[in-house]
């Protein structure tokens, strides 16, 4: 098949993998809102002008209308501005703008995970080709950090679990170049990177036999977290998450339940 035809097939495959469930639009500012605000402001100005004129005339009675106009006109203008959009709000509900809210992430590597609202796939910490380790075929990282925050945290990373990696879920795919079982693979890679393995035990992932390694940080005795390893033909999947050592803050929007939930939602593409 010509490469042009293969490209068409590839793009067609990618294009048809998702469909829109909903498009959420915020409330659109009512065009009359500005008019109302202007009218309110004009009313205040007009009343104030009258008051000034009356004041210049030296009338004792001027003080009372001025005070009344100020305290009633401002709330009135504000009220008009805030209530006007609600007349149109019934058509489309307003939602917080989160691009990945409740979405299912479908990876070209051949799996899906559910991403809770606020979580996204990291572009900075994901790649679909090997880099330093030729056996690491792909790795995708999921985070709540903004790209800018993530980039800043990556600059702080050292050789251990860096700040950008705390409270992230990762799905990595390895070439099983040593033809190991998942248990042998898990036993071999369980140390290093400032992590202490607490247990290595059999489990299942999406109905397949797997091995679960539970870790804690070497520097403290905080919450534990885990990675599961699944043998898939001549490949090994590593699906896991990190929490934070006690000296690092939890990223905004990240929770243990959220990051663990991503790992637990892992499914192989059917």
């Amino acid at each position: 098949m010509a490469i042009e035809d293969r490209l068409e097939e590839l793009f067609m495959n990618d294009a048809n993998g998702r469909r829109v469930a909903s498009v959420n639009m915020p409330q659109r500012p009512n065009p009359w809102r500005g008019v109302a605000a202007f009218a309110g402001a004009a009313a205040i100005a007009g009343i104030a002008l009258v008051a000034v004129i009356l004041g210049l005339r030296g009338g004792q009675q001027a003080a009372s209308p001025t005070a009344t106009a100020t305290t009633t006109a401002i709330p009135s203008a504000t009220s008009t501005a805030t209530t006007a959009p609600s007349a149109t709000s019934s058509a489309v509900p307003s939602v917080s703008p989160t691009a990945f809210a409740g979405s299912i992430y479908s990876s070209p590597a051949g799996y899906t995970v559910s991403l809770p609202g606020g979580w996204r796939r990291s572009d900075l910490q994901s790649r679909m080709t090997p880099k330093d380790n030729p056996d690491e075929l792909s790795i995708e990282t999921f985070t709540t950090r903004t790209p800018a925050d993530e980039a800043a945290q990556m600059a702080r990373s050292d050789t251990g679990i860096g700040p950008a990696q705390i409270y992230t879920a990762t799905v990595a795919l390895y070439r099983n170049s040593r033809n190991e079982t998942a248990m042998a693979f898990a036993q071999r890679v369980k140390g290093g990177y400032g992590l202490v393995p607490l247990s290595v035990e059999p489990t299942t992932v999406d109905g397949r036999a797997a091995v679960k390694t539970t870790f804690k940080f070497a520097t403290d005795n905080g919450q534990s977290f885990y990675t599961v390893y699944v043998q898939d033909g001549d490949r090994i999947w590593a699906i896991g998450y990190f929490l934070a050592p006690s000296n690092l803050d939890t990223p905004a929007g990240a929770t243990e339940a959220g990051v663990r939930g991503i790992v637990e939602s892992f499914q192989f593409a059917r």
Binding site: L7, M25, N30, A101, T146
Partner: protein, 178 residues
């Protein structure tokens, strides 16, 4: 695939430009359904497509009043999407006003070694080159129109397309050789 607007879409665009919230919501929904396949093809079938589509629709939402020719809504929004895809850093750092929820549709995701090799090779291309390939080989957009959408001369679009194909062939030969 993005297609030409239907006969009554012109009236929907005009109503949206006049401030009709229901028309705007319907227009965004319709554009979302038509543009998600393009976003998915550009982003390699990844969830990034949601963010790209959300930011594209946010732009439509913000600038619908500036569109002079309602019949051009599809091509205009497609051009917005392609340019946002190329300028990834800018769109990914923005917080879109429009949020998209998508669901996965079971499809053969292409896990044969040949498809994975091609996917990896395409993944190494410059975003502008990938957009060119998607527009020309999948959406069948003529090269002159591709050039306009990418804001480059037609001759440059042709040479980039040929160079991208040569690079893909070389990458595939290398992967087969290993």
């Amino acid at each position: 695939m993005a297609t030409a607007p239907q006969a009554d879409e012109r009236s929907i665009v005009l109503a949206a430009q006049d401030g009709d919230v229901d028309a705007l919501a319907a227009l965004l929904r319709s554009l979302g359904e038509r543009l998600l396949p393009l976003a998915s093809a550009l982003c390699g079938g990844t969830g990034e497509a949601d963010a790209l589509l959300g930011d594209t629709l946010s732009r439509v939402y913000e600038r619908i009043g500036d569109l002079r020719e309602p019949d051009a809504i599809t091509s205009w929004s497609r051009r917005v999407m392609v340019r946002k895809y190329i300028d990834q850093r800018r769109w990914f750092q923005r917080r879109p006003k429009i949020s998209i929820n998508t669901v996965e549709v079971p499809t053969p995701l292409g896990t044969s070694p040949e498809q994975l090799d091609l996917r990896n090779a395409v993944g190494k291309l410059d975003r502008r080159d990938r957009a060119l390939l998607v527009l020309h080989y999948w959406q069948r957009v003529p090269i002159a129109e591709c050039a306009r959408e990418l804001d480059i001369p037609e001759g440059t679009a042709k040479s980039r397309l040929n160079a991208a194909l040569r690079r893909l062939r070389r990458e595939l030969e290398d992967s087969h050789g290993n």
